[in-house]
Symmetry: C2
DNA sequence: CCTCGATGAGACATTCATGTCTCACATGGT
DNA sequence: ACCATGTGAGACATGAATGTCTCATCGAGG
């Protein structure tokens, strides 16, 4: 039998389809179900067999994105070392998922009042708590709220992912661009 | 006659319709032509009389956005005073157009290879040149490229506009959030 | 008061993405 | 060799947004 149980683990096929869908939709968020299928190298009918519809596909992508982001949060060990080191680890861990996250953030903006996936709230809380902790330690300035720093983090990750995608900045600078801007800003500090 | 010449100035009606369309589409970028019409307090047929179709409407919005952004660039007098002061003026001048700009930036991402409006290139060049000048003056750090700083500026403006819209941050903090993060970053500097 | 122009409402055709279904085919397991 | 399951391709219905058209109405200007 080629299918295993649906649960914490998913079928290899499903996983691969989801990956290629993420790659495509990160570039072209309005891609058709047919385009998604072609990109995955399968027929549209088969795509519909895996995912009931576009909504189901997007929800699956959302789960994947949340899962990857939370894995990045784990891998970053946000409570170890200085906040700066932790942030560098987080951005590094998040880089492979940046395109998908950018897509999902934009996608979530469309559902105005509707309830957002609880996973996002969990992730938001962890990021926000990280910034608050850094403030309490005296490592982050306190005139920028944790909520704004969290949003700015998402925004910069998305902007960087898109800028790389569009060829406007070098892919190898991804982490440096985000971390340096987020931490130190554009101003050239005196002691530097 | 209720119509004046179409040219540099547009009909008051047209202008107002465009404004309300900008306001609506900034919040809900997928709004229908019918919704746009209702929001403007006119019928769908009338909307089509003003703008041949959705594409024409978006193009008109793009022109409006570019015009407002270039006006903000003018008003900011980017070559007067320190780069920091100039950036503060720019963000202040851009605030009223932030929602529209955010919409247009996201919209432009959908037209991958297609040629972008030349107005954007002009504006991009001015912003990019501003950052480069600041680097040459020693006011901005040189390890972040002008291209990235330009993209980050757009991204942060859009993120801030959306965060305010979503009620996650206070509207009155708009300028401070963007300018401080963009200039100084989140790190608490020693001399502060 | 009358006329012209713009409008709103609605009918209508068209296009496109979606979702469902059928059928022939191939591949893998028995 | 046989059978079953998954698959691709295509036909088909559906719904939604778009674009076009007509017509009755309203209002301003002559």
């Amino acid at each position: 039998m080629s299918h295993m149980v649906y649960g914490r683990l998913m079928t290899l096929d499903r996983e691969q389809v989801l990956r290629s869908a993420a790659a495509l939709l990160s570039r072209k968020s309005t891609a058709t179900m047919d385009e998604v299928a072609r990109a995955a190298g399968i027929g549209r009918a088969t795509l519909h067999r895996h995912f009931a519809g576009r909504d189901a596909l997007v929800k699956a992508l959302e789960s994947l994105g949340i899962q990857e982001f939370e894995a990045a949060l784990d891998a970053a060990r946000l409570d170890e070392g200085t906040s700066e080191e932790a942030l560098r680890r987080l951005i590094a861990a998040v880089e492979p998922s940046a395109g998908l996250m950018s897509f999902l953030v934009n996608e979530n903006q469309l559902f105005e009042g509707d309830e957002v996936d609880e996973g996002w709230n969990r992730a938001d809380a962890r990021v926000s708590a990280f910034f608050r902790r850094g403030q309490e330690r005296g490592e982050f300035r306190i005139d920028l709220t944790p909520a704004w720093l969290t949003e700015a983090l998402y925004g910069l990750v998305g902007t960087a992912a898109w800028s790389v995608q569009a060829g406007r900045v070098a892919a190898q600078d991804f982490q440096h661009m985000i971390v340096e801007l987020l931490l130190g800003g554009a101003r050239r500090s005196v002691e530097q």
